[in-house]
């Protein structure tokens, strides 16, 4: 009936949007932790470690996009697939934290 952007925004149901966003954030955090653990255990250094983080972000995004969102990220997340791709500003630190932790446990300590 009306395709104007204002009306489209008005039709979004608040609690659903919030729930989706929280879910997305949690998934990204947990995937950052696991990829940090993998990087640490494997003993990856420098750029290899960050490459693993980028790879895991891409992998998570593709699973979310194709399985959960059934190929239509725009319907579930505001900002479409670019928003899903963004790993979240704090998850980089979480990745580094878990990476350092596991690297230290496995490779530095006897």
């Amino acid at each position: 009936m009306s395709g104007a952007p204002d009306d489209a925004v008005q039709r979004i149901f608040g609690p659903n949007l919030l729930h989706n966003n929280n879910l997305l954030y949690n998934v990204k955090f947990i995937s950052a932790c696991f990829s940090g653990a993998v990087a640490g255990v494997l003993g990856l250094e420098n750029t290899l470690g960050f490459a693993l983080f980028a790879l895991s972000t891409l992998f998570t995004t593709s699973i979310l996009h194709f399985v959960n969102f059934r190929g239509r990220s725009k319907s579930y997340v505001q900002g479409g697939i670019v928003e899903v791709l963004n790993p979240g500003q704090e998850n980089v630190f979480s990745f580094i934290l878990v990476w350092t932790l596991f690297y230290g446990i496995v490779h530095v300590y006897d």
């Binding site: 009936m1 008005q10 949690n26 932790l101 446990i105 530095v108 300590y109």
Partner: protein, 271 residues
Amino acid sequence: MGATSAPSLYLDPQIRDWVLFPITVVMILVGILRHYVVLLLQTPPKKLPRAAIREQRALMQSNVLRATSANSPIPFTLYKSISQNLSKAFVDGKYLKDGPPKGDAPSTPPNPLTDPQAMDGMMAGMKTQMVMMVPQMVIMGWINFFFEGFVLIKLPFPLTLGFKSMLQRGIQTPDMDVRWVSSLSWYFLNFFGLNGLYRIILGGDNAADAAQNMAASPFAAAGAPQPGQPQDYNKLFKAECDNLEFSEGLHKWVGEDVETRILRKYGRIAP
């Protein structure tokens, strides 16, 4: 002990058991504690008298009415009557907290320092700030006191020499690789990295989230007035009258010509 990058240092596993894990566990637990302390310290919002609430809500009501005016679910007569009612009340000053402005007394916005409601808001913000800052200081002091003078862990990624003074505080080796860091840097890593964990354990807006608090603190500490509170409602109401009139012009009922549209849809009359 002066090895740089090729032969690595051997660290006592007891350091891992007694420093690495305890620091992390303590920070997680203190974060959870902070969240609950803030929750307990929160005073329930003061119940406002009906006139004050009406003053705040009248603006919202008019905004909601105007928001859908171009595609309005209510027919024009109903819309117009609500809109006119609100306009008249705004102009008369009926919805103002202290009643219509008396005569030509200059209406000044309530001073944030003396208006008790704004004070409560600022106090709540400052209390949260204190609860956030104090445990951080305490933990940093604890770490500096007990866990100083030894290397804790090796970072998997390189950093520039500039970080050496910050991350290797207390270790007097001028040419050790910057990747070997002391306990304080582990504290910083935890400080930034545990926010996601808090969000999972404590739910969405928890008080332990460092990033949110740091972003909010410059504004709360500067005592910026909360939106809507110390503002002059009289002026706002007058401005709102104009907006209402404008939206009245824009009004279009979704049910307009609905009979024609249905007939057209089912092919009874020519499109």
